[in-house]
């Protein structure tokens, strides 16, 4: 797979890691290439931290060998290793009475003299490190007063002050709010891209890892399940297996996790298309409805989301006019559903058949909730006016709630 000619920054052969003859991970073989962003993914307790601690030499390998820039890790002097590799750990450290500047300056350790005196180069390195994590304005603040997000950025700055070529981070985004989570990941990615630093991080968010990583390592059951570019490795099956997902699916096209509902609240048929159904599907899954949908083109966003949510999706190939057979299939499924939702998609020559679907829903006497502007007046409604017009998602939500309440009170009423 390797396209680069430079030797790997970190390589492991037949590596076993763990504590006191109690191996956590066995038989690891991998090469980390320079300038790559490498994510370690896996459930809690899988051994991500143990692996990182072994790579940073805080734990000795139980077996096998690690090489850093071609040299055996065990043979490097502590100070030489510190010039190559820096770490950011999860420990909550709060040394008292340090300004952020002084704290980051501690990272100059492997470069300063025996008393740790700071020269011009050291000072400018600290300033640059702070600037690289967008924290220059924090320099004079007391370290102990920082928020979690600010502290994490400053911890990364301290590591950068070591001027490392490799940065190891244990759960760098844990405890952070969304803003700082995104910011820290963006900072780390920039370090990779612009400074060529190899970043190795254990992460919890598969979706984030998929978006920033050059390589991901899936760690579970005492070993490396898979290893490679996220585009290859992070299949819905692999992610579901890694975390033992049951009611969720990782969608690589959407780059996120879709949570499925229990499907025990009744069955909804959603007539959607061109992305109009996405939010409706998620809302229905959240509320616990089983979903059937159609007819959508297979390249429609609605199709991806519906499939990830486990919906029964009637689809036709892209750019094809909805044809009779798909319509028949969809109508059959709609008949089995308790109610129908019209997402208010724009109607064009390719999907005009979906309007026929709605028409037959009304003819069958199904309750139709519609988000369409102006409702379904163009269609002939049956004797009982079953189309309920909703202005927006909230309106639909309210309508559904009152529908379920009615349905629960008089389960036979609708069928009669």
């Amino acid at each position: 797979m390797s396209t680069s000619t430079t030797p790997p920054v970190i390589s492991a052969r037949a590596l076993s890691v763990g504590y006191k003859n109690k191996p956590v991970l066995r038989g690891l073989d991998f090469d980390f290439e320079a300038g790559h962003f490498i994510s370690l993914l896996g459930p809690n307790g899988a051994g991500k931290t143990t692996l990182l601690r072994t790579l940073s030499r805080h734990l000795s390998p139980l077996a096998g060998e690690i090489r850093v820039q071609g040299r055996p890790l065990a043979s490097l002097r502590a100070i030489d290793l510190a010039r190559i590799m820096a770490v950011v750990l999860t420990d909550k450290i709060a040394p008292p009475l340090f300004t952020v500047f002084e704290f980051v300056a501690l990272g100059r350790y492997p470069h300063t003299d025996y008393l740790g005196r700071m020269g011009e180069i050291d000072r400018s390195s600290v300033v640059k490190s702070l600037a690289a994590v967008h924290a220059a304005d924090l320099a004079h603040r007391p370290f102990a007063d920082l928020s979690d997000g600010e502290r994490q950025k400053v911890l990364v700055a301290r590591a950068l002050a070591q001027e490392p070529q490799i940065l190891l981070l244990d759960e760098p985004t844990i405890h952070l709010d969304l803003k700082h989570r995104v910011e820290v990941m963006a900072i780390l990615r920039d370090l990779c891209r612009s400074k060529g630093i190899t970043v190795v991080a254990s992460l919890h968010d598969v979706d984030v890892a998929a978006k920033v990583s050059d390589r991901v390592a899936l760690i579970k059951d005492g070993g490396l399940l898979d290893w490679g570019p996220p585009e290859m490795v992070l299949t819905p099956e692999a992610v579901a297996g890694l975390y033992d997902f049951d009611k969720a699916e990782f969608n690589r096209h959407l780059g996120g996790i879709e949570l499925r509902g229990d499907g025990d609240q009744g069955r909804a048929f959603v007539v959607a298309g061109m992305g109009s159904g996405t939010l409706v599907y998620r809302m229905l899954a959240k509320k616990g409805f089983a979903i059937a949908t159609g007819v959508v083109h297979t390249n429609d966003l609605d199709c991806y989301v519906a499939q990830s949510l486990g919906a029964d999706c009637t689809s036709v190939p892209p750019m094809e006019k909805l044809n009779g057979s798909a319509l028949v299939r969809a109508t059959d499924r709609m008949t089995e559903c308790d109610f129908v939702i019209d997402c208010g998609f724009a109607v064009g020559p390719m999907n005009q058949a979906n309007m026929e679907l709605l028409q037959s829903a009304l003819t069958q006497g199904k309750t139709v909730f519609t988000l369409r502007e102006g409702g379904l007046q163009s269609l002939t409604e049956s004797d009982h006016n079953r189309s309920i017009r909703c202005d927006d998602a909230i309106g639909l939500l309210d309508a559904l709630d009152s529908y379920s309440a009615r349905n629960a009170l008089h389960p036979k009423a609708l069928e009669a």
């Binding site: 502590a78 290793l81 590799m85 820096a86 770490v87 750990l89 002084e102 501690l106 300063t112």
Partner: protein
Amino acid sequence: MTVSELALTPAPSMTWRRPQVVFGLLTVLTLLMMVLNVGIGSIPFSPLEIWQVLTGPAENTTISSIIWNLRIPRAIAAVLGGAYLAASGLLLQIYFRNPIVGPYILGISSGATLMVSFVMLTSITVGWTLFTPFISTLAAFAGAYGVMLIVLAIASRVKGGVTLLIVGLMMGYLCGGVTAILTALAEKEKIKGFVLWQLGSFSGFKWDEIGILLVLGGAVLILLFVQSKPLNAFLLGEEYAASMGVNIRRFRLLILLCACALAGMITSMAGPVAFIGMAVPHMARLSFGTSDNRILIPGACLMGGLVASVCDLIARTALSPVELPLSAITAFFGAPIVITLLLKRRVKL
């Protein structure tokens, strides 16, 4: 970038000014306290008389002997004792990353006391040149280090700051128990000296003891100052320190040996002295406004010397001619400081 660099330039000069002022102040105050300690005592001498004794030729008068053999050694001993205990406490606080530890709290002083009680109360060491300062210093060091190792062994199994304190307290009780049994079994004449020693006092230091303290302790302090860079790295915890290039195993051993040596040395000669080792590092940190050990090692030593001198002066003069136990005075000093720190949440357990 340029803006932030401009903003950062005043920082170093500003952070350097405060320590210099505090150093100057502490030095002046410590010297002043030494002068007072030499000048004030149960037998009053006028400043002129003292000046004549200090500057004049050696005479064999009572006043000369009181000044040269009692008061001056005691004043020096107080300064050294305070300094070494403070340095020891500073080291332990860094090592355990726990702000409330000190040689006394961790049971190190109790361990030293126990071993010294073996020397003073039993006849185990009779065959050896009887009761030289060396033997009891070595015994104190061995006791301190022994307890330290036990506390470490337990602390490595059970994490948490409170656990550490409780382990230290329990070690203190255990050592105290053994010491009490030894006292019960000992001959009457030996007990009196031991009990007095156990209350803690800087009195009765001989010049050769001061010499030992100065040479050994001075060497340890110089060693520590040279190690202040790894000590600073250690403030972030072992793993960070190791990742920055500190040879952790060697360094851990060094810190503990130094802390035990300093505390053991003072305990063997002055008895167990409470609170200085724990409270003074905080006083130093707060007054210097930094955790930088390049400043704190000399800073805590000066502060410790000053505090011990003040406590010793109070112990000698408050109810003169009765001399109060030193540990009582240091407790009045230290306990409120620790409680205040906890209440102000400057300190987290």
